[in-house]
Amino acid sequence: MAFDLKEWYNEKLEGEVVLNFNGSITPDLITEALGTIEKSLNLKNEKNKIRKKVYNVFVECLQNLYHHVDKPPADLDLVQNHNFGVIILSKDGSFYRISTGNFVDKSKISVIKDRIDQVNSLTDKEIRMLYLDIMSNGEFSDKGGGGLGMLDIVRKTGNKLEYYFYKYNDSHIFFSLDVYIS
């Protein structure tokens, strides 16, 4: 069966939703979304430590989207299709969950998969070593990313990344990522 974006979206809206957005991921949107979650009562009542962790990981997830999304399929009826991405922050029991979704070209699947599988396979100590190594290399991608996003998310949350690739058509794949903060 073909991938149904609405269905995916509805599934991710489980729990107490603090913020959900689908549309163009722009610098202004990121500022605005962060402002919105800072006002959330759920988060205001959290310990400083958790609150900052959620803000930090939330920004990293959004900036990952900002730097890496590909064009959505042309036949999909989207209000904002430029730099299209989805982000949902919700409180799910004792966890905060950040779900992101975006379209990527089929050719990128293996790079993303290898990266996440690698990060997920490392121990805390190995994650720190790799983080320090990449931080010291001083390299930035053309889009201004530092290659540390996924590592940082796993390091800060202490949880593995959960991801799934849904085939939309022969060239477009929907990349779904769930991050849990406890």
């Binding site: 962060l34 400083n48 430590k49 720190r128 540390l148």
Partner: protein, 126 residues
């Protein structure tokens, strides 16, 4: 040398690079999409700064949180300061973190493990 002062914004920290007083301050949050654009002028400033006429240079870093691309730029700042220190100038970094903020504490430890300059970890009460 010209003093650089920048007020904080929702995505960039308050910054004061004061050559007269030998004080460098970075406070707030640092989460710009384009970190290089923000930090390049500061790194260029440090390139020219030689601590002339000062006994020491105090570096106060009090960040709420920062994104990964800022983490690389902050390292570049420390690398410039390390060069200054290696030339015999006294440099001290004061790294502030809130008492239960283990992420910011660990970030300080990360820099300390890469950079060879005196690093003081200062815990702040919430």
């Amino acid at each position: 040398m010209e003093t650089i002062v920048r007020e904080g914004t929702p995505k960039t920290p308050y910054v004061r690079f004061d050559g007269e007083k030998g004080v460098i301050e970075i406070k707030g949050r640092s989460i710009p999409e384009n970190s290089i654009e923000f930090y390049k002028p500061l790194i260029d400033w440090l390139e020219e700064y030689d601590g002339a006429g000062k006994d020491e240079t105090a570096v106060n870093v009090q960040l709420e949180y920062f994104n990964t691309s800022s983490s690389k730029c902050i390292l570049d700042i420390f690398k410039k300061l390390e060069l200054l220190f290696k030339k015999g100038h006294k440099v001290e970094v004061n790294w502030y973190y809130e008492e239960d903020d283990e992420d910011m504490f660990e970030a300080g430890e990360d820099y300390q493990s890469i950079i060879n300059i005196p690093f003081k970890m200062i815990e702040m009460e919430e």
